[in-house]
């Protein structure tokens, strides 16, 4: 009887709830939802529309012409293809080896998914990721790792991300491990190591431009002493790229350093003390205790820096304007360059391609990491 009563009563109670109470949760959430829509979703949709349009300033205002995928066609298959993809030629031996390794690894991942009878969604996801990854690797092999090839903005961007993050992480880790030791002056160096991060990237660009000037810069005597007064790093594609990468590493290593230092210092001391008592070496302690302890922080750190690094623009813009030729031009700089000439649709299309690229690598990174952690567990 009571069960029946309650089953009857519940809707009755609900029906009696005042309208204001029922609407209250939605009313409280609405401002936040609107803010998110306004600052995040709406610009995303608008820029997608822009990437499918051509804009022109005419008498009476702005004329927006819908051109469907024409801006993407121009980038991927049209007159801008060479800027984006560079010059593709037959890869060198190293290029073929790299490509073969990636093909093997991705094929193995797809095969494992099929063998383990994973869901169709997982298999399809892995297959798509494999195709995209093989395609990108081929592009790297046929442009960057080819004697006749030349990398376009897409590969140059990926190069900056890969080299920059690897070097920044390793350097940051070494510096953090050093500063975590009880060494004299470590407090001083903690501050010193942080300084580059405080400088605006444009300032870093000008700083490195002056330092690398072999004729007029403050290091001119050094370059002359080294017999490099007639060398112009800006004339050489790799010289210019390396200059950009050094500037980027110099600026962002402190970010890695400070977060890793915090993670190292926050790890529990008991396992380390126990390991010392058991006679473990410093390397063993680092390998089996410290590294696993800072792994969650490291993965997040790399993910954040990776997303940020894909958007690099300041340094190549100030140092070389993307030159010589297109040697140091990134996708963001490329988008900015054509935006300055009012090709807003084309610029938005590049921005969307970059968004796809960043999302792909971020998802891939997270998936690989998750499967690795699951396997370890």
């Amino acid at each position: 009887m009571s069960a029946i009563a309650s089953s009857v009563n519940i809707p009755a109670v609900r029906a009696r709830a005042p309208l204001s109470e029922r609407l209250a949760p939605a009313a409280f959430l609405l401002p936040a939802v609107l803010v998110v829509l306004f600052v995040s979703i709406f610009p995303l949709i608008l820029s997608l529309f822009l990437s499918l349009s051509r804009l022109r300033f005419e008498a009476g205002g702005l004329k927006v012409q819908f051109v469907a995928l024409d801006n993407y066609r121009k980038l991927l298959f049209g007159s801008e293809q060479k800027v984006l993809f560079g010059t593709v030629a037959s890869p060198s031996l190293v290029g073929w080896i790299v490509l073969a390794v990636v093909v093997l690894l991705t094929s193995a991942a797809v095969y494992r998914a099929i063998r383990d009878a994973r869901s169709v969604r997982v298999i399809a996801g892995r297959a798509i990721a494999a195709v995209v990854l093989i395609g990108l690797t081929y592009l790297v092999a046929a442009s960057l790792l080819s004697p006749e090839g030349r990398p376009g903005t897409l590969v140059v961007t990926m190069l900056y991300v890969a080299v920059g993050i690897t070097v920044q992480y390793l350097l940051g880790l070494v510096l953090a491990l050093l500063c975590a030791q009880q060494l004299p002056g470590r407090r001083f160096f903690r501050v010193v190591f942080l300084l580059p991060m405080m400088i605006t990237p444009v300032g870093v660009g000008y700083l490195f431009r002056m330092l690398a000037d072999t004729n007029k810069g403050p290091l001119e005597p050094l370059w002359v002493a080294l017999g490099m007064q007639d060398f112009a790093w800006s004339n050489n594609a790799w010289g210019a790229r390396i200059a950009v990468m050094i500037g980027d590493v110099w600026q962002w290593t402190p970010f890695m350093f400070i977060v890793l230092l915090a993670a190292i210092e926050a790890q529990e001391i008991e396992p380390i003390e126990a390991a010392i008592v058991d006679g473990a070496s410093s390397w063993d302690i680092f390998r089996h205790i410290t590294l696993p302890a800072i792994l969650p922080v490291s993965t997040t750190l790399i993910l954040i820096r990776m997303i940020e690094a894909f958007k690099i623009i300041d340094l190549p813009n100030i140092l070389t304007n993307g030159g010589p030729g297109t040697a140091t031009e990134t996708m963001t700089l490329y988008a900015y360059r054509i935006w300055r000439a009012l090709d807003i649709g084309g610029s938005a299309a590049i921005a969307y391609l970059l968004l796809f690229l960043v999302t792909f690598f971020a998802m891939l990174y997270v998936r690989v990491l998750r499967s690795h952690v699951s396997a370890t567990a």
Partner: protein, 508 residues
Amino acid sequence: MNLKKLTTLMALGAVVLAACAAPPAAAPAQPAQPTQPAEPAKKFAGITVNAITFSGPQIAEPMQRRGKEFSEMTGATINVVTVPFADLYQKILNDFATGTNSFDVIVFAPQWMVDYIEPGYLEDLTDRVKADPDIQWDDIGLFFRDFSATYNGRIYTIPLDGDFQMVYYRTDIAKELGLQPPKTWDDYIAFAKAVSEKQLTTDDGKPVYGSCIAKKKAAQSYWMITSIASAFIQSQGTGQGAFFDLETFKPLYNNEAFARALEIYKETTQYGPPDEINLDVGDTRGLWTAGQCALTIDWGDIGTLAIEEGSKVKDKTGAVILPGSKQVLDRKTGKLTDCTPELCPHAIDGVNHAPFAAFGGWSGAINKASKPEVKDAAFAYLSYMNQPAQSNVDVTIGKTGFNPYRVSQFKNLDNWIKAGMSEQAAKDYLGAIEASLNSPNMVLDLRIPQNQYYQGIVLDGAIAKFLAGEQDIAATMKEIEDGWEQKTEELGRDKQLAAYKATLGVQK
């Protein structure tokens, strides 16, 4: 707290606040103070004019200096905002198009004016100019009045500068090596090569380069290649045009003539500073005044910078009209052909010169959306800078970036000699500009819708890749042709052709 209490408290608070804010009810009477005689109200007191130009320091410097003088005279406040050259076009357009209207005065490249006038962003200045006798409009060179200031018969800008590219050479080095000023581009190469092989050094031991040309990407370098190519492409007079075919609007930058220009352009790099492809005009000018260059291509700025304090090339700087060519493009065959009287009617001693009015000269315009009183002050400010009393001085100062554009500035040598030029140097310098200005085969800069994309993106990008060795001549020319054609298709071929033809009707 109930409603009654809350109401009482709020009323009490309001009374307290009102008491604090109110002025004393009855201030004691003060004895009358003797007052200073009031200054006559200045014409534009309290008005602020916001201006934008590029972060020179050229152009911005005279705008700020003259702005201060103008403020003292009229009471108006002149704020000059500067942005990098590559950002200027879009920054102005974005400001206008979004209705932000942060800028009342824009000082910009007149070749961009079509993109600002067509949407209706610029104030028509025709009546104001006619009503202003101090501006002495007829004293401004006809070309600058027409190309830099007028669009569809209406005046939209006030010229502040006159721009032509010329070749400068070191007179002392020419004398020492027994070289003549270059008449053709082959002469230019021979001159540069001779200096380079001689391995000359400055007094402080720095190398003297055979040729210094600003070739930096995404800067002000893309005019240089047109300065070289024009002599090979245009020979039948200004109306022929040097960028597009007048029938089909097909680009003229994919043929033997432009290929030859690219060869010359690349060869000059061999005799230049090691980092030449990363040098902007500011850098090459610095090298010139430091005595490290024997040749350069530049606007009129070099002539006045050479006489500035600290310059090592005072009275050593000669100027000539842009070199020409004995071979030109035969547009019927698309081949590079020897000059004949029919093919090169304006040739001098068999050499076809095609001086390039690159850029056209910095000019000032007024935002149509500004308030009427601000527009009045803005026009008065531009007029003040343009008037002979100011401009005749400013064009003789190197750091202003202003070059002569008034007839009186060419006729009267006194200002130049007073500024530090020798009479011969002044005659050389002004003579080279006049020869360019009076040439019946002068090449007009591109002034069609979105010319910034054609030149600043497509041409500049392709040339940068060519200089960096990323692509050969054929690929470079194809890239320019494809890029220009694509933009033409987007904007409409007929419309672009009509705009191009209208520009070529400009009077000189």
